[in-house]
């Protein structure tokens, strides 16, 4: 298995607070890798650095061997990383379909001039973008609400829409920040099926979650953060046996309980 994403000695310091400290780990191509850790361990901070929301204070991140930690988020998106957000960040001023059409931004054409004048096949491009976006909605099961306001969706479906929007960028690496949190048992089951389908389509997945059953169930490998430090990395079985992991979770909640 080749390495898709590699983090080396990554640290992030906010003011005086060390959110991530000297963390190194790898995500292998085609696998599902989970990033776990107690509340405030620095998981979201890690995803923010990978997706370019902010740069690491020190250390490096490479995608397919090329450094990306100095790049702005839209360039990282073009390199093939897409993500969802722990606090859902839909474009609530748009319909469900339009949200996913924004996800097609890098895969569609059109500038201010062609938009204003409708030249250069703008209407044709628009229709194609809408059709493409619809296929991603179908993939997550939201085609029936394509024309509804995204803000009106129930919470579980908002999470699915974020995934569809991220997939629409055709990423090689998909980052999911607690995509299962707040979902019902049935919705979680559907999410797991979706995650497997996404992997099958060739997308590598790096996910953060608090639901240990889910994580241990679906992950090929697990990376554990505690107080910003990486304390373990390995298969679910290895991680579950790891003493530091057990100790870290004793302080918070037992391994295996849903977050």
């Amino acid at each position: 298995m080749s390495t898709l994403l590699e983090a080396g000695n990554v640290s992030k310091i906010f003011g005086g607070l060390v959110a991530v400290s000297d963390a190194s780990f790898t995500v292998r191509t085609g696998e599902i890798t989970a990033l776990i850790g107690p509340n405030g361990a620095g998981k979201t901070t890690m995803l923010n650095m990978i997706s370019g929301v902010f740069p690491p204070t020190s250390g490096w991140i490479r995608l397919a061997g090329k450094p990306i930690h100095h790049l702005p988020p839209h360039v990282i998106a073009a390199r093939g990383i897409a993500r969802t957000f722990q606090q859902v960040e839909l474009f609530t001023n748009m319909t469900v379909l339009e949200n996913v059409m924004v996800g097609r931004h890098l895969r569609s054409r059109g500038n201010l001039f062609t938009a204003a004048t409708r030249l250069g096949g703008t209407n044709r491009h628009e229709r194609k973008t809408a059709n493409d976006a619809l296929t991603y909605l179908e993939m997550v099961g939201l085609a029936d609400v394509a024309h509804e306001d995204s803000g009106d969706l129930p919470f579980g479906r908002q999470r699915l829409l974020e995934i569809a929007r991220a997939l629409a960028t055709e990423p090689s690496l998909l980052l999911l920040d607690e995509a299962a949190s707040g979902l019902s048992t049935r919705e979680k089951k559907e999410l797991v099926e979706l995650i497997f389908r996404i992997r099958k389509s060739g997308v590598t997945i790096f996910l953060v979650d608090h639901d240990m059953d889910l994580v241990m169930d679906i992950s090929d490998r697990v990376v554990v953060l505690d107080h910003g430090e990486k304390i373990a990395e390995g298969t679910p079985a290895e991680v579950q046996r790891n003493e530091r992991v057990i100790a870290a979770y004793l302080g918070e909640e037992p391994v295996g309980e849903s977050g």
């Binding site: 929301v53 960040e89 839909l90 319909t95 931004h105 204003a116 619809l134």
Partner: protein, 341 residues
């Protein structure tokens, strides 16, 4: 996103043009034709500012500055250097765009109140330059005898012709704006309005798009300014002061910030309101003293009681009324609609 949206936008534009063509049959008074021409200019300003504020969510409290730069550039070039208006107007727009770019790059890194303060400061500086650089701008006495526009032998020298000139331009820009918002570019703008992080991680170059729409809306303002200069033939700094920037913001806000047509409604409403206040001030001399205060008060009241804007407020009322009368559409119809996209 209906496949037939373009035709429908075009349809609206055609309806608008027909309405414009018919208006002089009903409106005979030169005074009202003048007010309507001014309404068209305000429409251009509001629609442009709405692209920035309503769609991209970036505030500008200094938009009258771009209006002024556009007006003064063409006024000075035509009166002092004998340049043709048809060259001077694009020159004014170009200079405004360059200035907007230089102002926008640093300012648009700011958010919310800070952006408002920065643009307000910019508007103030431009106003002061217009007043005090009298070697170029002739100061408070203003620039007179700005030439009328002419296409060949057709000179826009009366109120009917000026009414047509301004409104045809306004409708053209409404059409262009409606096209822009319904596109990849328009979606990127709305996306960054809603969540800059999410937009950026979808591949939208947020700072580039922000500067782009800032420059675009400044270009609308400059066009409006150069039209004003050649239609009214006289400009002075007070036309481009702070209160005008505020008026523009109010037009956009009461328009609802959600649609291109809403901004036009906002422009029409505020134009009428301002005109009404002016005539009230003339009829009741005591009131004249309080003109600006009353003006400000009404703006504040509008902001307080119509926060979602006139068009959205009315639309929501109508929707609620319709919903109460008609049961929700049958759910099985929906997939069909999707397939039609």
């Amino acid at each position: 996103m209906k496949a037939n949206f373009f035709t429908s936008t075009l349809l609206w534009a055609v309806v608008g043009l027909i309405a414009v063509a018919l208006t002089p049959l009903f409106v005979k008074s030169n005074y009202w034709l003048g007010v309507l021409a001014f309404m068209a200019i305000n429409t251009i300003l509001a629609v442009g500012l709405n692209l920035l504020m309503g769609y991209a969510g970036q505030v500008s409290l200094g938009h009258a500055a771009f209006y002024g730069i556009g007006a003064y550039t063409t006024a000075i070039l035509t009166t002092q250097y004998g340049v043709s208006p048809w060259l001077a107007m694009p020159a004014g727009i170009l200079i405004t765009c360059i200035i907007a770019y230089l102002v926008g790059v640093p300012c648009l890194r700011l958010h919310g109140h800070y952006l408002a303060m920065a643009t307000l400061g910019f508007g103030w500086i431009v106003f002061i330059v217009l007043v005090h650089w009298d070697g170029l701008t002739l100061g408070t006495s203003g620039v007179e005898k700005i030439p009328k526009l002419a296409i060949g032998s057709l000179v826009f020298d009366n109120d009917v012709k000026r009414f047509f000139l301004t409104w045809v331009t306004a409708i053209l820009l409404l059409l262009v704006s409606a096209n822009i918002v319904r596109s990849r570019v328009g979606r990127a703008l709305r996306a960054l309005h809603s969540s800059e992080n999410a937009a950026a991680t979808m591949g939208v170059d947020v700072s580039r798009y922000k500067v782009m729409v800032f420059v675009l809306s400044a270009a609308y303002a400059a066009l409006a300014g150069s039209l004003y200069a050649h239609v009214v033939n006289f400009i002075s700094p007070s036309v481009f002061g702070f209160i005008v920037s505020v008026e523009l913001v109010v037009m956009v806000v009461i328009g609802g910030m959600a649609s291109v047509w809403g901004a036009a409604v906002g422009a029409a409403t505020i134009t009428m309101l301002v005109e009404w206040l002016r005539s009230l001030g003339e009829a009741v001399p005591v009131f004249k003293e309080f003109d600006v205060i009353a003006h400000g008060l009404i703006l504040v009241l509008v902001m307080l009681f119509l926060p979602a804007g006139l068009t959205v407020g009315v639309r929501d009322l109508v929707l609620r009324w319709v919903k109460r009368r008609r049961p929700a559409p049958a759910p099985q119809e929906k997939p069909k609609e999707v397939a039609r996209v």
